[in-house]
């Protein structure tokens, strides 16, 4: 095997695909949550802080009750509160969602660091009960796909279910229809006798819950019951990029998250062949490419509507 072939086989290996799934899962869960708020017309950049809080409270619950599922329960409870809090400020008091999002991000860093030190000392939390890894013996008989999908943490599989449910919810149920209407044409929705405010509240809470799950996957699924201060490491912003790219379609957002996971995995495996400074920029380059696509798409849509509406109707 030549040096180049060797490099190719390590870069494009089953390990790459496994990492793609692991790394994509927290981003995807947050992105599905972000899709909900996006549909409701709320620009939510607070997802990073929500993930961080989710990660911390999952570990805290796991530590206090010595059970990973108790951790998930606690973090869902806190996620609910965070969603309500976000709704209170953004929906009820109509504060600027951008500022509130920023505030939640900084608030989360401060709060989780403070609580982490109160409960675990400066050493941080580690080795608490973690979520189970599923081993499905029959999967290994399938080449590549089998080992890629097997032996993943519970939430990796749960995410597929959530993607499907979220997609059906948004596009196939009346609630999803109202949710989208609450963002696009709130007045029309109001005329139909349904409160757009209520839909916005629901979206905020769903986003809080899903981001909490994203955090729980990070600390209890991906890592074994570990919390480190600031560990969300901008995944919430990547999730936001996925939301915009996918036009808030949960299924497309999941694919976008997979793409990020894939390029992260490729980046790590390319190190040693090219400089780490270069591989580090890969996700950001992808973001820019995605945003260019979004702009092009928007312009096409604008042209199409212009055609439909005829010349100079505005």
């Amino acid at each position: 095997m030549s040096e180049f072939e060797k490099a190719l086989s390590t870069v494009f290996s089953v390990g790459t695909l496994q990492q793609m799934l692991r790394s994509a899962t927290p981003v995807a869960l947050a992105a599905i949550g972000g899709s909900m708020t996006e549909h409701a017309g709320i620009m939510n950049i607070g997802m990073d802080g929500m993930i961080l809080m989710g990660a911390f409270f999952a570990v805290l619950g796991s530590f206090l009750a010595q059970s990973a599922f108790a951790g998930v329960a606690l973090t869902l409870g806190v996620g609910l509160l965070v969603g309500l809090f976000f709704g209170l400020l953004v929906v009820r008091y109509r504060s600027d969602e951008f500022i509130i999002g920023c505030a939640i991000n900084t608030f989360a860093v401060g709060l989780t660091s403070y609580l982490s030190r109160s409960f675990f000392g400066t050493a941080g939390a580690k080795g608490n009960p973690a979520l189970p890894v599923l081993h499905l013996a029959f999967l290994n008989k399938i080449p590549i796909l089998g080992p890629m999908l097997n032996d993943q943490s519970l939430f990796v599989y749960l995410t597929w279910l959530i993607v499907a449910v979220a997609w059906v919810f948004v596009y196939k149920t009346p609630y999803g229809f109202w949710l989208r209407a609450s963002g696009e044409k709130p007045d029309t929705l109001r005329t139909a006798g349904i409160s757009p405010t209520k839909m916005k509240w629901i979206a905020s809470v769903l986003c809080g819950l899903l981001c909490a799950l994203a955090g729980a996957h990070l600390s209890l699924g991906h890592l074994k019951g570990t919390f480190a201060e600031n560990m969300s490491n901008s995944r919430g912003y990547i999730a936001f990029a996925c939301v915009i790219f996918a036009a808030a379609n949960p299924a497309k957002a999941y694919l976008a998250a997979l793409m990020f996971g894939f390029f992260e995995a490729i980046g790590l495996r390319l190190q040693g062949y090219i400089s780490s400074d270069l591989t580090q920029i890969v996700p950001y380059v992808i973001t820019i490419v995605m945003m260019v696509y979004v702009v092009v798409r928007k312009q096409r849509q604008r042209k199409r509507t212009a055609k439909l509406e005829g010349p100079a109707s505005a």
Partner: protein
């Protein structure tokens, strides 16, 4: 009423901004026994990252706390969380007599220190380009300690592939890596083996998940002993080691206790001890080290290999430990020169 509530909420949010970078001014909390002398020098410990890495920064805090316990200084600490290095350094210098800056990032000490001629500065882990009258630079021969770690890694590797997960591609981190590689090469030369050394950088010191992925990526390429040099992100390396069944080597502090079955040893950098010794000298009136760079070495005991507390599981055979001991002496005596990326 609503407005008041909104205002209150905003105030709470604002307050939490300061939680992360809080200053713990311990002077107020001095216990009744009066162990801290009111005239004791004021020491401010400024770290570039945050405590809780169970490694580099925590070690510096231990040293500073020991000084406080012995009544030599009044301690306050500042965590920069990766930003505002110069401003935090100035904040510290405004109040303290001795400012210890922990982290290679504090380059501005060269311009700030001259503004505070009565304050003594200690810069940990890096050195000013030219000597500054009131700055003592302390650097560590991490390359020498890593040489020993590299030797151990190569000796313990069954696949003859060993790995290192660095925090970022910088001079200080690479100083570990050149030593590590040279140590592995020495093992090869002595035993006629061919060991490949692979390196991945996390580009984050906070994110254990990415640290874990880096380690798994190296393990996929065959590495079965991995040295972590990435602060809290390196925690993920231990996670991966436990999960995938390979060995890990800890860094800065003796980290074996975190996972005694997966962590075979640690490359210790006694940051705390060096701070303790340097400040103690200042307090006793000996300031001859100011304006110089104190290059702490393996021979002085400021770097070395730790095998965990007495009684912990040991994976490394005694003959390897013995060889490590011999190499440590050879490095100490200057018989072996270890490459460095420090200036």
């Amino acid at each position: 009423m609503k407005k008041l509530f909104a205002l209150l909420l905003a105030a709470v949010l604002l307050l939490t901004l300061f939680v992360g970078c809080k200053k713990t001014d311990k002077n107020d909390k001095t216990d009744a026994s009066g162990s801290t002398d009111a005239n004791a020098a004021k020491l401010s410990l400024v770290v570039a990252g945050r405590f809780g890495d169970r490694s580099f920064y925590d070690s510096s805090k231990e040293g500073a706390e020991r000084l406080q316990k012995e009544g030599l200084v009044q301690l306050s600490t500042i965590e920069c969380n990766g930003e505002n290095f110069s401003a935090q350094m100035q904040n510290a210098a405004d109040k303290a007599n001795i400012v210890v800056c922990v982290g290679w990032e504090f380059y501005d000490v060269a311009t700030i220190a001259p503004q505070y001629p009565n304050v003594k500065f200690i810069w940990i882990d890096n050195a000013t380009d030219a000597p500054v009258a009131n700055v003592l630079n302390i650097t560590y021969a991490q390359n020498e300690g890593s040489y020993l770690a590299g030797y151990i890694a190569a000796a313990m590797s069954k696949n003859h592939v060993v790995g290192a997960v660095g925090g970022e591609d910088s001079d200080t981190i690479n100083d570990f890596i050149v030593g590590y590689k040279q140590g592995a090469a020495e093992y090869d030369a002595k035993n006629g083996a061919t060991t490949t050394v692979l390196v991945n950088y996390t580009n984050s010191y906070d994110d254990p998940a990415i640290g874990k992925e880096c380690a798994i990526a190296l393990n996929d390429k065959g590495a079965d002993v991995i040295f972590q040099i990435a602060s809290a992100a390196g925690d993920g390396v231990f996670d991966a080691a436990a999960e995938k069944g390979f060995y890990a080597i800890g860094v800065d502090s003796d980290q074996k206790y975190i996972n005694p079955d997966a962590i075979i040893c640690s490359m210790k950098k006694e940051v705390g001890n060096s701070i303790y010794d340097a400040v103690k000298e200042f307090v006793s009136g000996n300031t001859s080290k100011l304006g110089t760079t104190w290059q702490t070495t393996l021979a002085e005991g400021y770097v070395g290999i730790g095998y965990g507390e007495d009684g912990s599981v040991q994976q490394i055979p005694d003959e390897v430990k013995q060889a490590v001991e011999e190499y440590a002496q050879k490095i100490g005596s200057g018989e072996i020169k270890v490459e460095t990326t420090r200036r």
